[in-house]
Symmetry: D2
Subunit: 280 residues, 4 copies
């Protein structure tokens, strides 16, 4: 099968000229803090994943953008390249072994190795309740949200070793404060807190850190159902003294930090970007 790589020639990454807003404001030149590093961000053609991909690219990394649909990949890649950033795209449904394999091929072919894996892809079928969820719903949620990050990392690991990189999983505050209408989604997100911990132990001897972004209510299509429900949103803000909705860029800021040398002694942590915290 031909790689569904969005923009092709090998020389691509060399032309990296993207700068993060922060870098620009500080007068940084061509090289960012992640210069010459390679990042894969799954589920990165919109929302939080897109913001992360953009930020890591602005920090100087070569970024592999992906999601399930070719046209979304094309659009995201075009947008980021239009900003002068070094990105390549590939279609990847993280729940499919062959798609994961193709993503690995893209990494190997275009980047020669990998430093950072950000597992932003996820599903939320909004099942209504845990007890109303069918086996099919459970399978899909556990497959995409829990198994896929582990399997993806397994396949990419041979290309990460000896580079001392970082993995970032993406959970949700509903892992801690379950939302009764999100059913199995809550549970999959709690599982990710554990996956972060276990992977951090497994990969510590290889010098790879594993941490977890725990977003609160972030302004994305996904969260519309929450923040557009005025009663819910007002209660939520009042309960937790949250002052504003989160932006995808807020999440990207944490991921940028977790990939940076400043975070080199942080691993196994689950960190909320939520305008509040829900645990000790």
């Amino acid at each position: 099968m031909l790689p569904t790589v969005a923009c092709i020639h090998r020389g691509l990454f060399r032309s990296c000229a993207g700068l993060s807003v922060r870098m620009i404001s500080r007068g940084i030149g061509q090289k960012g803090i992640l210069a010459n590093r390679v990042a894969v961000v799954t589920g990165s053609t919109d929302g939080i994943g897109f913001a992360i991909a953009r930020r890591l690219a602005r920090d100087g990394a070569h970024v592999v953008v992906s999601s399930r649909k070719q046209q979304n990949v094309d659009r995201a890649v075009a947008a980021l390249q239009g900003e002068g950033l070094s990105v390549v795209g590939t279609v990847c449904h993280v729940g499919k072994a062959e798609d994961r394999e193709r993503l690995v091929d893209t990494v190997v072919e275009h980047c020669g190795g990998l430093d950072f894996l950000v597992c932003s892809a996820g599903v939320n079928p909004l099942v209504g309740s845990t007890l109303g969820a069918s086996e099919q719903v459970w399978d899909k949620i556990l497959e995409v949200n829990v198994k896929a990050p582990a399997l993806m990392l397994s396949q990419l690991l041979p290309h990460m070793e000896k580079r001392g990189g970082a993995v970032i999983l993406v959970s949700s505050v509903s892992a801690y404060v379950p939302h009764v209408e999100l059913g199995p989604y809550n549970i999959s997100k709690t599982a990710l807190l554990g996956l972060t911990r276990t992977l951090s132990l497994e990969l510590a001897p290889k010098g790879i850190r594993v941490n977890c972004l725990v977003p609160g209510i972030i302004k994305t299509d996904f969260s519309k159902v929450a923040y557009k429900n005025e009663v819910f949103w007002n209660n939520f803000k009042e309960d937790h003294k949250v002052q504003r909705i989160g932006q995808p860029e807020d999440c990207a800021g944490l991921v940028s930090f977790l990939c940076s040398p400043d975070a080199s002694y942080i691993t196994g942590e689950n960190i909320a970007v939520a305008g509040f915290s829900s645990r000790l």
Copy 2:
């Protein structure tokens, strides 16, 4: 399909004459604190599950014993009936829809309803590592340890409603302190902490409480690999100031409490029976 019930006649539960050690020592008569209540304990033909089944029966409950193999069910039922306890057995691989259905049939036919569900069945393929686990290993662990309790409860719920019962899931301290060699097992046990929380919210309006037993190292076949490893076990005891290995009866004591009226305002809690605690 005929129920594979181990000991058959409908009158069975009426002869309930089991007494818990605690009740005997206190001179309690025929009626225990769970008299006339009905409990299902999955994975209850040996180890922790067996101790729980015995304890609930000694507390006066009619108990449905089950596990994957007919001969194990027969042996457990015979042992408990030999103690004068009111039990019935049925083969049930919790990961199989038809087995769960058969267990529901047993409950309906023999007990007329259900008060307590204790999900003790679980698998631990000892995969070595998360990243070494195949899709098949992941599927099996998530299916049996996470999905099955939720699906079992879904199927039993119509027979629990209006009785104000309780559900007890069984996690593990490895949910909090992951053991690097237990890979996906750790993650499945963390997921159960979240399942407890979400189910407790879903079922609160129905008057059903959901809590979670979090065993430490308990003297069972399952844990042999840990406590028979002298270096591991001595370090573990020293690290956590654990004074002795846990007994299955220690776990059963908590479950008995969680089913009792004394625990009627406790729900959503994950409680360690481990000789130590690992979180705030």
Copy 3:
């Protein structure tokens, strides 16, 4: 100094004839599960502490009741003795060294040793905010809520050793879900979660277990400000799916369990009695 013991003669505890409601309903005779054990419950002349004292006495224990005011001690002792329970009272402001010493004297003189210490005394000056709290407010809250339980236990420990007893501290769900108007109180209650953990390690080698009751909103004078505020209480119930207010007896049920042999492998745990849970 003469003991300010409320009800005097040494033979008192031998006449123990109190029965818990549960025991009565089960037809238990003279001996309860805590027969011949001795318990101190501080802050036990009303509310949660009083319910705990009553429950432990009904379970068969000899109970030392105490709080700051003689008349409250007298009233509580009279009420419990009126139920045929074996109690003795002593005035004790837990923040005062001499009062703690007097309580120790009472234990030694009347009971010959101690099995259970339940630290229910506490203050909540309702300061409004953490940042508005004066040094005096901080000192009082930390002294009574955090230091006093540790110092009390230090003084009583010589009389507990070799009896394999249990200590129960009393925190609050505001330790996990801080209430913005309770200021330093929240922090003192979080500190108790840590005190439970550290004490459990220190005392494990002595066979003494240390756990923590974490009450939610319980129907007491203390909580009136919460549950009588209709807007707050309705939101709280809706947020956490709490179905009813807690009763002091709900708390007493957990303490009874934690003192019993059924909990002999549970230590270091913080357990909410709140109609919901707020952490994994």
Copy 4:
């Protein structure tokens, strides 16, 4: 009011030309990410506090350095000024009201306001055990480690408002995994986790975020007793798969992030810099 830059007398802040290693490697010019911001770091004349002060100054902030002894303050200030950083020093024993007042005066006089408060001062009398600790030991530890940060913030708050700043408390992993020999210190550090949560709620409406650095074993005088104990340190590394000792600069990296706009939606969080994590 005088200009915000504290170049008043002594010429102290005028020579501000310090650049963080990270900034230098990226070719950043005069302005860092915290340019024109003002930070107070207590307990900052050596160890973690010193590294934080240096880092914030390298990020462009004007930093007020302080600790209990004049000669330590002088040495630290000289060292940082020698690097071209903009710092001013003041003696401050955080447990003394008049010292806190003097620090407030320094902030007002030299800086015209405050953006960041990092409470790094703390005591650890190494008491051996909780139950062996005298009232004096308890008082000292709670005063310096818990009350002082709250009182300091109360006094500085009028000068922080309307600047949208950040507060960082400094706890310890012993807050989660208590070290049996550190007694009351553990409890004071757990209390700080709660203080972070409560303060974050109180200050959210003012646009001030409050987070907590949770150091593991960091190479400082304070931790020598741990990492120079070979048996302890080797077990610790093995238990948690920690690969190296932490450096004060690792802690400073997190604080720098938490003060930056990238963390503007993070508040109430307790984040470990420990080479491992100990909670979900």
